[in-house]
């Protein structure tokens, strides 16, 4: 077998007089500068790298309809209107906005509370759902789209969320509420312009609650 002569076999190779023994150089290399440079590069790449890859949220808006009779009508009992105000406040009411002497159905909450409200309302609307002949069509459409839950596709057809961000709402609020639609699997939702009555109510609520 061959082996590398490490020069360690002095006992075998007897050197004659006058033959100078070559100075043994260490094979070890000082790695410190290389490691220094390595870590410098690591730090550089860690700082420059962007780990969070951006994702996208799809948003589909309807065409503006001029003619009132072309508008889709929604069942009042299945509608939840959500308004976004300043300081991450959320306001909502179910069905139609009722303001009379005894008070109103206009309530305020936060982003944490609105999720429970959406879930509650969705359950309530779904419990009232009655199957009829138009349901078969909806189910078939969902099946063709490849929805594994196509059998349930019709159950929440009356549940509609209307999102109305006020002028003080931030873009984050808007994205958050749209995200809430995905999280709670709300099939039908729309983003519309806020009404003056609602703006007034938000203002009043903000004044009494001292929200700036």
């Amino acid at each position: 077998m061959s082996s590398i002569d490490t020069g360690g076999g002095d006992s075998v190779h007897k050197k004659g007089p006058g033959v100078k023994k070559a100075k043994k150089l260490s094979t070890r290399v000082d790695m410190t500068p290389m490691v220094d440079l390595g870590f410098l590069l690591i730090t550089f790449f860690i700082f420059t790298t962007t780990m969070t890859t951006p994702t996208t949220l799809d948003l589909n808006m309807p065409k503006d309809i001029k003619d009132l009779k072309d508008q889709t009508e929604a069942k009042e009992s299945g509608v939840l209107s959500i308004m976004l105000g300043k300081a991450d406040q959320v306001y909502y009411y179910e069905g139609k906005l009722v303001v009379d002497a005894t008070g109103n159905n206009f309530k305020s909450t936060t982003f944490k509370g609105i999720r429970d409200m959406i879930i509650k309302k969705k359950k309530e609307v779904m419990s009232r759902h009655v199957h009829d002949e138009t349901c078969a069509k909806t189910q078939e459409r969902a099946k063709a789209k490849g929805d594994p839950d196509w059998e349930k596709a019709c159950d929440d057809r009356d549940f509609i969320v209307i999102i109305k961000p006020a002028a003080d709402a931030t873009y984050k609020n808007t994205v958050d509420i749209l995200d809430e639609m995905t999280i709670n699997q709300v099939r039908t939702y729309a983003m519309v312009k806020i009404l003056p009555d609602e703006v007034a109510l938000i203002k009043k609520t903000e004044e009494t609650a001292g929200i700036k």
Binding site: T48, P54, L57, I183, Q185
Partner: protein, 218 residues
């Protein structure tokens, strides 16, 4: 008394495994790094649970920064001639009287954030000076003078026959009216499908989406 001789240990440690790991990490970061494209403004996007990937080509990106300034940019790495088509269209529709050199400079301009009146000044500068220039953003809030409409119209013409994505990259702190004005500029161009750029958030535990994913994505 005989003294106990402690064996002297070398203070040298073998650094090889350490160096191995360090270089492994280094190579990982070198390969995983994708340099950020230059951006005129820093944008902190809000989070969402959607995990859809961002289209990087054939897209119009509308940026809204934290002080509600609107920027318009076109992502078209493969076909740079689109930039020329867009700026020529804007030049003629707004009769800005840009020179050929200024129009050629549009290719290097990442995002435009000036009203039409200041466009000549912006394109007269090189990329470095453009970055430091304080820009007011494209005017959108006045619906009679929503200049973004013209930019989108120009892009739509330049990309006619191809799929064009509309990306809206808004800062979390920007206000809703600006976003609404951006949407209305797109709507007036008969475009109703947009992609909002977001960062990835976790799906909340036991929410309906979470249950749906667990059931169907096995």
């Amino acid at each position: 008394m005989p003294s106990v001789k402690l064996p002297r240990k070398s203070t040298d440690t073998d650094m090889t495994p350490f160096v191995d790991v360090a270089f492994l990490i280094l190579s990982f970061f070198m390969l995983a790094t994708k340099f950020k494209p230059p951006e005129p403004v820093e944008i902190t996007t809000p989070g969402s649970v959607n995990s859809q990937k961002l289209p990087e080509n054939n897209a119009v990106m509308i940026i809204v920064d934290s002080s509600n300034r609107v920027f318009f940019s076109v992502l078209s790495e493969k076909d740079k001639s689109k930039f020329d088509a867009i700026i020529q269209d804007v030049n003629s529709s707004q009769s800005l009287g840009l020179s050929n050199a200024e129009m050629a400079n549009y290719r290097q301009t990442f995002a435009v954030g000036v009203p039409f009146g200041n466009l000549k000044q912006l394109l007269g500068l090189d990329t470095k000076s453009q970055e430091v220039l304080k820009v007011p953003g494209i005017p959108v809030l006045d619906s009679a003078n929503n200049q973004l409409f013209w930019w989108v119209a120009a892009a739509k013409k330049a990309f006619a026959g191809e799929k064009l994505n509309y990306l809206i990259k808004g800062d979390a702190k920007s206000k809703y009216p600006t976003f609404e004005a951006v949407i209305s500029a797109l709507k007036r161009n008969d475009e109703f499908k947009y992609n909002l750029v977001t960062a990835l958030d976790d799906v909340p535990n036991n929410s309906e989406l979470d249950l749906y994913n667990r059931k169907n994505l096995k």
